[in-house]
């Protein structure tokens, strides 16, 4: 089984995690820029972006895992507009690096006016950095009680950009039962995060696949410095297999869908694969 992990914060993980992921069939990871658990000074971000674009790819490559990333100021640090302006001035340079897939994970945390302002600036930055089409965008939706309203606000803000935003180049992540329909109906890619205490479980993620279909869906574990595990992706694949989903379906969900979405960035080297189930020939 080949897996592309579409959302994992490897800076928070050990090298053993890379090894375990590689042994479990992970061929590539996509790492969005994230909150470190505390608010950083603007000067720390250049080092963080270098870690994402230079150091982590080296660590991953020891195990044959391709590492790609996304650059942004995460919404949890977006309240200070002065800081946001300073950090965001660094982003265009890093977006030019070949292993940067786009702008992310931007979004909302507590749905505040400042977060919304910084979100719009990031979207504009993705448009300005594009060459005819905007750069890919990866979006974090809020947790728990703020998720429904935050997801609604995000979709409305994206629509305000009109034809400058192509929904097929935007993945809205951390969808759950009450938000996945609005995301898919609006034409965006939907991410589901298996993070059992605060987001989905393997069982519920597979339920959502069965109800809403597997087109334009990516499943991740968003493993980070919290109680999390990159292999929740694999536990979800196992749950799907237990229910009778065949290998073609699993490859589509866990490899080909991310390959299709990320492949819209020319630098993403991994292509969708086919499963050829042939009857065993007698010897």
């Amino acid at each position: 089984m080949f897996v592309i992990d579409p959302h994992v914060h490897m800076v928070s993980r050990t090298t053993t995690d890379y090894e375990n992921m590689a042994m479990a069939g992970v061929v590539a990871v996509s790492e969005p820029a994230f909150w470190a658990g505390f608010d950083r000074t603007p000067s720390a971000f250049a080092d963080y972006y270098r870690q994402l674009t230079e150091f982590e790819p080296q660590r991953a490559s020891q195990f044959g895992v391709a590492h790609y990333c996304w650059i942004c100021l995460n919404p949890k640090e977006a309240e200070d507009l002065g800081k946001a302006r300073e950090v965001m001035s660094l982003i265009p340079t890093f977006l030019k690096r070949p292993n940067v897939l786009g702008v992310g994970e931007i979004g909302l945390h507590k749905n505040t006016p400042h977060e919304m302002e910084v979100f719009r600036r990031h979207v504009q930055l993705a448009i300005d950095a594009g060459d005819g089409v905007h750069r890919l965008i990866l979006i974090h939706t809020p947790h728990l009680e703020d998720k429904w309203r935050g997801t609604r606000l995000i979709i409305d803000m994206l629509r305000d950009f009109g034809s400058a935003i192509d929904p097929s180049r935007v993945l809205i992540d951390h969808c759950e039962e009450h938000t996945i329909r609005m995301v898919k109906d609006a034409g965006f890619w939907a991410g589901m995060t298996v993070y059992p205490t605060t987001k989905a479980t393997p069982e519920r993620a597979v339920d959502m696949l069965e109800i809403y279909g597997s087109d334009r869906v990516c499943i991740n574990a968003a493993a980070d410095w919290g109680v999390s595990d990159p292999l929740w992706v694999h536990r979800t694949a196992l749950e799907a297999r237990r229910r009778g989903h065949d290998r073609s379906a699993l490859i589509k969900i866990f490899h080909n869908n991310p390959a299709q979405f990320f492949g819209q960035h020319g630098g993403f080297a991994i292509r969708p694969v086919d499963v050829l189930d042939r009857p065993t020939q007698p010897h």
Binding site: T201, E210, I211
Partner: protein
């Protein structure tokens, strides 16, 4: 010893840790929230299966229903009562 809680040690056979309702919610709300979603999703899964394949008579559904009633009634001692609802009687 956890300094957040006042642990009474004069009754070792039923050691009581005094904690506020807020502390309990801080520790367990997210887990309980996730558990309710798991149950809801399982019931939805069952409904979808029965919509597809027809109703399935099974006493486990009755036990589950009895347990869910206990969850939402006003009486206490819910864990023991649910265990009894799931137990073979007689």
């Amino acid at each position: 010893m956890n300094k957040n809680f006042d642990v009474s040690t004069n009754a070792p056979e039923s050691t009581t840790v005094h904690r506020s309702g807020g502390q309990v919610l801080d520790l367990y709300f997210l887990k309980a929230r996730a558990a309710t979603l798991d149950i809801a999703a399982m019931l939805d899964r069952l409904s979808r299966a029965e919509a597809l394949c027809g109703p399935h008579a099974d006493e486990r559904k009755d036990r589950l229903q009895a347990a869910l009633h206990i969850l939402t009634d006003s009486a206490g001692d819910k864990a023991r009562r649910i265990q009894e609802a799931y137990s073979v009687k007689g």
